[in-house]
């Protein structure tokens, strides 16, 4: 390849080999290239498959989509908060000196992680929720998802806590920090940094897993899309909207956690 062509390429499409940093021009050009190629591929595939768009039929049901999406957002956000608390509690319980608490946490984690979410939803809703006469489906959905996701988060948090080296704990002990202070000033800030990527993954899964709550009759986003698809026979349009709706929730989480990773960056 000739020299100017090579330098042009590296100017618009390459990051610095040593630092990984990239100029604004390189980032925009590369993003445009990838976006363009993806759109072109999609367009070609659609043309070849002979699909006919019909947005009007689906558009008539926009309110149904919106209310389903709102339910998914509400349930997911509530479950996200609750499962974070539960996960942190379970992770601490697993490290407790009080053995019954430790075993209880381990049982919970293993039972939940070893069985399908679908089974848990049925059992928790039709047996447990029924027994305690909990009838609000959204609330039941939040609780079930939290129980489920909390078990996974507990393992994420445990790995994070264990990633903090022994010598760090000893240093904390030596300067006279109490156990609670050690968690707050030494373990938490260091663990948070190492768990951020898995935490983001778990949050994204939680949002997508909320679609399974349709089996207890909760009209969340996936259920709405399914309903609209069966009313209008516009499967493809409905599900495309569904995908966009979920991305609107999951992409910000990915972006936000990447930002946080940058902020917490320090070398060890």
């Amino acid at each position: 390849m000739s020299r100017p062509a090579a330098s042009l390429l590296s100017r618009f499409f390459f990051a610095q080999p040593a630092t990984g940093a990239a100029s604004g021009a390189a980032r925009w050009c590369s993003a445009a290239l990838v976006g363009g190629v993806l759109v072109a591929c999609g367009w070609v595939l659609l043309r070849c498959s002979g699909l006919r768009w019909d947005w009007e039929a689906v558009g008539a049901y926009w309110q149904l989509f919106l209310s389903g999406w709102r339910t998914t957002v509400g349930v997911s956000l509530a479950a996200l908060l609750l499962s974070t608390l539960l996960g942190a509690g379970l992770a601490l319980a697993q490290r407790s000196d009080f053995l019954p608490l430790r075993y209880l946490a381990k049982c919970w984690i293993e039972l939940i992680r070893g069985t399908p979410l679908l089974v848990q939803i049925y059992v928790l809703f039709y047996i447990v929720a029924d027994a305690v006469q909990l009838e609000n489906r959204a609330l039941a959905g939040v609780l079930i998802l939290s129980v489920f996701s909390g078990a996974y988060l507990a393992e994420v948090f445990r790995a994070g806590i264990e990633s903090v080296g022994r010598s760090q704990l000893e240093s904390a002990l030596a300067i006279g920090l109490t156990r609670a202070q050690t968690y707050r000033h030494v373990i938490l800030p260091q663990a948070l940094r190492s768990v951020l990527p898995s935490l983001a993954g778990q949050f994204v899964s939680l949002i997508k897993d909320s679609s399974l709550l349709s089996v207890i009759g909760l009209n969340e986003f996936t259920q709405s899309a399914r309903n609209v698809a069966s009313y209008t026979y516009s499967n493809f349009e409905s599900y495309l909207l569904l995908a966009v709706g979920y991305l609107l929730l999951t992409l910000p989480i990915s972006i936000w956690t990447r930002r946080m990773e940058q902020r917490f960056r320090y070398e060890t």
């Binding site: 000893e170 240093s171 030596a174 300067i175 006279g176 109490t178 030494v186 320090y266 060890t268």
Partner: protein
């Protein structure tokens, strides 16, 4: 500093790291521990730091017995400055924050006062321009001096140092040794374990030779490095001083 240890034992499995160690020393500013590798120096320092509980035996510091229970140990750790080989600074905190954390969290100083104390100590060790840097951005010698500053900032009753220069190259070693000599000049009490015999000789008021979990001999440097030393001490010194 007055130190009185009687029949300290600490075993790891079947191996006795401290095997009935007794030691008396009166009015000493600096006590340096020397002896063969595995002899029990680090274990002894960890006991004195309140990080390790002996299986049996007693420790008395300045006339006060050390009680090996949670609360008194916590109080003891808060009054003791520790600089150990494996004890790193906290990597997520800057040099200054590493020094101020014990001041604010443990000793209840308000943040501004803690920062002022921290900066003052960094200045004494010629580190004020590195106050905002994380440990990863500091050299080994700078890191170790921040660790010493952190241990000093709480105004401890005494300082415990375990091979503070073992991981450093000669230039950095010199930096840290100078800092420790300055401590002695200021009349700070400290107990130090080291393999650097020249330094031990220069900085010690008393030297204790420890081997196989027991005290072989304690005395001023002239005694241990002189003709009247115990045969085991002379043999050890002859071996290490050959190189």
């Amino acid at each position: 500093m007055k130190l009185s240890l009687t029949k300290l034992c600490r075993a790891f499995g079947s191996h006795r790291a401290l095997d009935g160690l007794s030691l008396e020393c009166e009015a000493t500013g600096s006590l340096v521990l020397i002896g063969p590798s595995g002899g029990g120096k680090s274990t002894l320092l960890r006991v004195l730091a309140g990080l390790e509980r002996p299986d049996s035996g007693t420790v008395e510091i300045n006339g006060k017995p050390l009680v090996f229970e949670e609360l008194p140990l916590l109080q003891h750790r808060r009054r003791t400055g520790v600089v150990f080989q494996g004890f790193n600074l906290f990597p997520h905190l800057s040099a200054l924050e590493n020094i101020t954390l014990p001041l604010t969290a443990v000793h209840g100083h308000p943040p501004e006062k803690a920062a002022a104390i921290g900066l003052d100590f960094l200045r004494r060790f010629q580190l004020e321009s590195h106050a905002a840097q994380k440990p990863a951005a500091l050299s080994g010698g700078q890191r170790q001096r921040v660790a010493i500053a952190r241990a000093l900032a709480i105004d401890p009753q005494f300082l415990l140092l375990d091979e503070p220069t073992s991981a450093l190259d000669p230039v950095m070693t010199a930096e840290v040794l100078e800092a420790i000599e300055a401590l002695r000049a200021q009349g700070r009490d400290f107990i130090l374990a080291t393999h650097e015999m020249g330094f031990a000789r220069r900085v010690a008021d008393q030297i204790a030779f420890i081997a196989e979990g027991r005290l072989v001999e304690i005395g001023p440097p002239e005694q241990l490095f002189g003709e009247s030393a115990a045969p085991q001490t002379r043999e050890f010194l002859a071996r290490v001083l050959r190189y």
